[in-house]
Assembly symmetry: C2
Homo-oligomer: 496 residues x 2
């Protein structure tokens, strides 16, 4: 088939894929390997790359190619790539190059300083850099909003989850806010009567690492196409052909790193199983950040905190960390499903987690909309932590509004992805359980293949072939249905 | 001062500096971190970057800017940058983009496969990829040669050491070939009467690493701007703001890694001390590969194998590797100056080293000139190893012509840099000793500051301010004089 316009576009997007490869590796290195004095040069190089990518996408010649390619006889995969190409091109054309570079530099500077400021609980120092990031993010939101005909915050949301809108998320989150506090209270009351043995540390870092590697193996991570390293803020980076996940270890607490590794392995398997023959083209990309989080949360929540899985890995804990009664399967299940609202999102239990996300969503939406200023964040944070989780965070910026990397890095609109992801994950597993009625028995026996095979077929191999709504509809037979998360939580935590 | 043309060039070259930053980090990662399945995507991304750099340099608009900048009132540093910009631009304009990308891809492929083929002693498998690399290197040499009006091999040499010519190197190396074999024979005869205690291993890798880190500290490596990692083939990579050196460890032999680290630390200090305010511009780059090797060899040969330095570090060996009589200073000096021709260049003693280089130089010159084909290399290698070092390498490709990364990576014309570097290093130290008459006593006392201060003033801070000839003339008061190396070797090995 002769497709001159599409082929020209494919060649440009392959070039972009190569550029982004370099940016991903340099970004991983910045977080996992780079010594401190390397940062200024790295930030400048990455901002240059952002500009190059932007300029390549904003090339006026693309307009004509996109129009002509739409008339060519594309197959469904090519059509999916073309849809994503058009989205990237429209997005880039709405942003002036100056703004792209300024935002990249300001975010790099703010994020780098934040690493120290967070440790020092230095909100006022942070605010100086952060105000510029907010200012530029608002400009960015305005530019995108005007072009897309939606609100500024929706325009940012749309970049992480195409088609997502604040009005819809409001309805979903308002519902969660109605049932979640009651559920948390009921579960805590129930758990108050339980005896749970705490595991006795310290847990040597090299042993935690060996355990983590064996879990990754069990979960199907391909070590010939990826690595596990250390970073202050765990993430999944690198490129699909070479996925880099990171963790951090705490000698007093093996649970965080363990679940962190399981979480990142979920992201990693998605990337490692995107369709190999389309990786360089937009159709071959992971669908969206909510779908990405649906994979990490399928691993962490649906599989990882499932008592059947904890029974499966109980011997591994005894093997690597030394035998103790706390690692007995029933106790392990109680440890990993213990509900105790705390200050830190990434360490939150499965029930408190949505509250952390909703709080951030509400604050960042008001911030981008101009209803509040950056300096208003701490007071609002305190108020919402009190309301949603009953916790006092006053004066504790470090474990309050300074705890996440997203805002210093200029990523506004990302947080809803976590809870949308948890909802998608619950929906997948509800769907799987209809045919895999013996799922828990298989998990306990170490047979995870049916789960991976379902995810591979319905999510991983689909990549960006469909818009998110259609992907989920095809996978589960229905649109996003937040009730699956509620039912999953009630079943797991109340046995209902 | 208003310098519109120069400023426009400076902005383009700053952009190139940013691109090259990403390439350097991705290149380091490829050798030190990347899992095997990442290679195809990495090679494609790096080839894309090579093409981008090439296209940026070959931009026709630069011709006019270069001409106009030459008429502007530049200071001496700006003039030095302009000279280097012109050189880069001329070079890029001589090579078609197609060839740049093809060479990058073919070299990546050949180098990647070589990592396995070398281990398997698989010359014929290697030859299949290598013939394409040779073919493209010859094309490259031809393109450059026609433009520069010099021979093909000279055109490749010229990229690593601007102004170097085979005819001059022939004269220098022919002289070495006259005196070196006799010197080796005399020294071996003298050393045959010495008693040397071999150190008793095994030497645990973590202990060798701790020793290496302490040596780097002693030699002034800035760990807030660099790292030490592992790779199969030790090198110094990264960027001046963040220098990445690598080593490999052998549990049976602590000497290789120790001297390897000292060698790479010499490269690293050069990069870490290039003038900070000019790093993004060509004037701020390291001068040439021969000058770079003159730094690594100043560290490895002039300092590292100096008995005074070995006396200084003798307690560190006892501390990290466990006390043993072999680590006593006089024995250590005998160990590190032991002359014993062997098959491997990077493990060669100081006297045999030039023979390894001359052999490679003669072969690659004939290969690029078309006097021999790639398939002729093993026979020629055997013949020259027999002649120069009296060693039989027949059938042992792994430790013969497959041992170096340079040829599979397409770097022809690099090897002479090592011996030119050794000669420059000997010349610097001869010059230093004229004023630092107590140098050995100071080294033994741990006072390396006068040496570093001389190197910093005369080499590191000069960066690319001068052409190599003038740099060396200014530093030592004379042009390259190979007799300094001969005198140094005779003094150290014969006490002459």
């Amino acid at each position: 088939m002769h497709l001159p316009a599409y082929d020209a576009l494919a060649s440009t997007f392959t070039r972009l894929h190569h550029y982004q490869h370099l940016g991903s590796i340099a970004g991983w290195d910045q977080a996992a390997m780079m010594p401190p004095k390397g940062n200024a040069a790295r930030a400048a190089a990455l901002a240059e790359l952002d500009l190059l990518v932007h300029q390549t996408l904003a090339d006026p010649a693309l307009a004509d190619l996109l129009a002509r390619a739409a008339e060519e006889a594309l197959d469904s995969q090519q059509a999916a790539s073309l849809r994503e190409m058009r989205r990237d091109w429209e997005q880039a054309n709405l942003l002036p190059a100056r703004l792209v570079q300024a935002k990249s530099l300001a975010s790099s500077r703010c994020e780098h300083a934040w690493r120290t400021q967070r440790t020092q609980n230095d909100w006022s120092g942070f605010l100086q850099n952060f105000q510029e990031v907010v200012q530029l993010a608002r400009e960015e939101a305005q530019c995108l909003a005007q072009g897309k005909g939606i609100s500024g915050y929706d325009a940012l949301l749309d970049r992480f989850e195409s088609g997502a809108r604040g009005a819809v998320i409001d309805v979903i989150f308002d519902d969660v806010k109605r049932w979640l506090p009651g559920l948390i209270a009921t579960v805590r009351e129930k758990q108050a009567a339980q005896t749970v043995l705490a595991a006795q540390g310290p847990f040597a870092i090299d042993k935690q690492r060996a355990l983590g590697l064996e879990l990754m193996e069990l979960l199907g991570f391909d070590f010939s196409a990826g690595r596990l390293d250390l970073s202050t803020h765990p993430f999944c980076g690198g490129v699909p052909e070479d996925v880099r996940i990171t963790t951090r270890y705490n000698e007093d607490d093996f649970m965080r790193s363990l679940m962190g590794i399981v979480h990142e392995t979920g992201h990693a398997r998605y990337e490692q199983n995107l369709p190999r023959d389309n990786l360089a083209l937009p159709m071959g990309r992971a669908r969206s950040m909510a779908i990405h989080e649906s994979q990490s949360l399928s691993f962490e929540m649906q599989i990882g905190r499932n008592p059947a899985f904890l029974a499966l890995i109980s011997p591994l804990l005894n093997k690597h960390l030394g035998e103790q009664a706390a690692f007995d399967a029933p106790n392990l299940a109680r440890l990993f499903t213990r509900v105790k609202p705390g200050l830190i999102r990434v360490d939150a239990d499965e029930l408190s987690y949505p509250a952390h996300v909703i709080l951030r969503y509400e604050i960042e939406r008001a911030l981008i909309g101009g209803d509040i200023e950056a300096s208003d964040i701490p007071a609002l944070w305190d108020e919402k932590m009190q309301t949603y989780l009953g916790l006092d965070t006053r004066g504790n910026y470090r474990d309050g509004c300074l705890q996440d990397i997203h805002w210093p890095g200029g990523s506004f609109g990302y947080f809803p992805s976590y809870t949308l992801g948890a909802m998608y994950a619950a929906q997948y597993f509800a769907s799987m359980r209809q045919t895999q009625t013996d799922m828990d028995a298989r998990i306990a026996a170490g047979d995870l293949a049916p789960i991976f095979s379902w995810l591979n077929e319905h999510i991983w191999q689909q990549a960006s072939r469909w818009e998110t709504g259609e992907l989920v509809q095809r996978a589960t037979g229905e649109a996003l249905n937040p009730q699956h998360l509620r039912r999953h939580l009630e079943r797991r935590y109340l046995g209902a």
